[in-house]
Amino acid sequence: MKRIISGLWDGKGFDIALVVVALGFLMIFAGLPLIYNVVMSFQKVDIFSLGTFARPFAGFDNYRAIFADPIFVPVMKNTVIFIVASIVGQFIIGFSLALFFTLDFPGSGYLRGLFLVSWVMPGLVVGAIWNWIFAGDFGVLNFALRELGLIGGNIFWRSDTNFSLWAVIIANIWLGTSFNMILLSVGLASIPRDLYEAAELDGANALQRFWTITLPMMRATIGAIIALGLIFTLQQFDLFAAITSGGPANSSNVAQYWAWELSFREYDFARGATISVLMIVLVMIASVVYVRSTRYEVRG
């Protein structure tokens, strides 16, 4: 006993104790719910069996039911559009802003800091503000587009099935851009200035410097941004709840919102869990791609 205690204070024991605390935390608050979720997707669950862990085994019934659901294909399509459009939009605008702020004009530091405001605001508040912007008859977005001559009549962003998903995507791009910008700014700042000077003397013009120096040097940052972007967009729930509630007619329904609807609106926990498992698989694939891309430091 004495040996164990002294090992805890001066030897490897202390290191192990620290690791155990972190691992224990992860197991209890992330590992167990994850396993519980996977188990639930293979069980028959109803409101009465919710309290027990021993529930009838259902095999792949839940999966079959989800795949056979008529809204499965549209929801998956929406999810893919939502993820790709959000990440591409956030990344391109974020990268442009990050490059813009490298110009270091007076006040650029403060201005860049202000962009973070969007990230500090709760998603529901952001949704409420965008609801006003999107409003069909008095919204400022319609006003701007009309005055610019881009549209003839008002667009009913939240209730038109052609636009409802895009309304959420626009709000989500606005929400995630500043995070992209900050991370990309850090990446840009870590590229030594003299590399650009050397490239300039070697004969590279601005575009060539961007392709041959900036982008390859940013590879790890870009990989991280896209992996995190995927996780954040798959987590995005507040905006759907606040702007469209997945409607109209499921035109803006996505996997994470559908899972919530099944579990907490229809109390079909098993199918809600099944969708979550499908999303986990997706994130796992993306994570593997990300880890592989950053395994070998920066290489062109």
């Binding site: 490239a199 070697d202 004969g203 040097m217 920066v298």
Partner: protein, 359 residues
């Protein structure tokens, strides 16, 4: 070395806001010349080099490279190559890709760029390292890649920005020789910035000493050593540094009296009245420790430093004099010494302006 001018600076000025970094700089560099820019940090030597490269734009004056005015020409069109203090190797490219970067930008055929890289690798001793990444190289090897990247372009001029300051002392001495012999073999024109006067003395054909944005003096290394035109140059060139003392011209106008110390002979051909005060510069290697009584400087030894081949004797008092003594000495602290110096080795400077007096 030909008489053709490769780089010409005429009345060049550079301002950073209120800060005047270069003041009316005039400099002509001939084709094939190795020019060193030396001076303490903040003297403008790096600004001058970066202006040549085009990384800084000059505020006024004319900058010509190979006869063409380059004031507004961007760096990539100046055809000059630079070796950075940090080497600035592209970390995401292998050595061969670092070398051929400029050729790939010009879309040179692969076979051509690879052949050029092989040739450069042979001259710089990088043959076996072509497939490595910069992080897998030692400091000296990185230095060679940086030089190879410059050589492959056959530029109009090589610009070196303190390239050896990140290397250890032994490697620095070795690379000094290597850079100079490379320069000679390539028949290149080189401008070399350093704060180390020994590097400048050993490598350059022509040294430019700068201070506060002004060229204090320029000329051949030994010219600067023998006849420093200002007190600053006298103190900067030569190691250990020149001793400076206040001296008064004696009644007989043949000696200079140095308070508390004694006297030194007044060099000939200098028009100075009796009683005038000047600054005398005495190089440590020109002071001789003499035996017996007689004229000279009388001081007490403060301490002695031995380097093996020579010893430095530092005397008490303000200012303490440094004496460079070949071989070993038996002098001990507090021992009295008499120091003598030949008249032609006494440098005189104006007390106010620091300008050299006499020939």
């Amino acid at each position: 070395m030909s008489d053709e001018l490769q780089i010409e600076l005429i009345d060049v000025d550079k301002h950073y806001g209120a800060f005047h970094a270069l003041k009316a700089v005039n400099l002509s560099i001939r084709k094939g010349q190795f020019v060193a820019l030396v001076g303490p940090s903040g003297c403008g030597k790096s600004t001058l080099l970066r202006s040549l490269a085009g990384l800084e734009t000059i505020t006024a004056g004319t900058l010509k490279i190979a006869g063409e005015v380059m004031n507004a020409v961007p760096p990539r069109k100046r055809d000059v190559a630079m070796v950075f203090q940090s080497y600035a190797l592209y970390p995401h490219m292998r050595v061969i890709d670092n070398l051929t970067y400029s050729m790939r930008l010009k879309r040179a055929p692969r076979s051509q760029s690879e052949a050029a890289a092989k040739e450069v690798a042979a001259t710089t001793g990088l043959e076996k390292l072509l497939d490595r990444y910069p992080r897998e190289l030692s400091g000296g090897q990185r230095q060679r890649v940086a030089m190879g990247r410059a050589i492959i372009r056959h530029p109009k001029a090589f610009l070196f920005d303190e390239p050896l300051s990140n290397l250890d002392a032994a490697l620095r001495v070795h690379m000094r020789k290597e850079i100079r012999s490379l320069h000679d073999r390539l028949g290149a024109t080189s401008v070399y910035v350093t704060h180390d006067q020994i590097e400048a003395m050993t490598m350059a054909d022509h040294i430019v000493v700068m201070r506060d944005g002004v060229i204090e003096q320029q000329g051949a290394p030994l010219e600067l050593y023998d006849r420093p035109s200002t007190r600053f140059v006298g103190g900067f060139i030569g190691s250990p540094a020149m001793n400076f003392v206040e001296a008064v011209v004696a009644e007989d106008r043949r000696t200079l009296v140095i308070e508390d110390l004694g006297s030194v002979p007044l060099p000939g051909g200098i028009m100075l009245g009796a009683g005038e005060t000047v600054t005398a510069g005495l190089r440590p290697e020109h002071l001789e420790i003499s035996a017996g009584d007689g004229p000279g400087l009388h001081a007490k030894v403060d301490f002695v430093e031995f380097t093996g081949a020579a010893s430095f004797v530092i005397t008490r008092g303000a200012p303490g004099l440094t004496v460079f003594n070949v071989g070993r000495t038996t002098l001990r602290p507090d021992e009295a010494v008499r120091l003598t110096i030949a008249a032609e080795n006494v440098h005189l400077f104006d007390r106010e302006t620091g300008r050299r007096l006499g020939a």
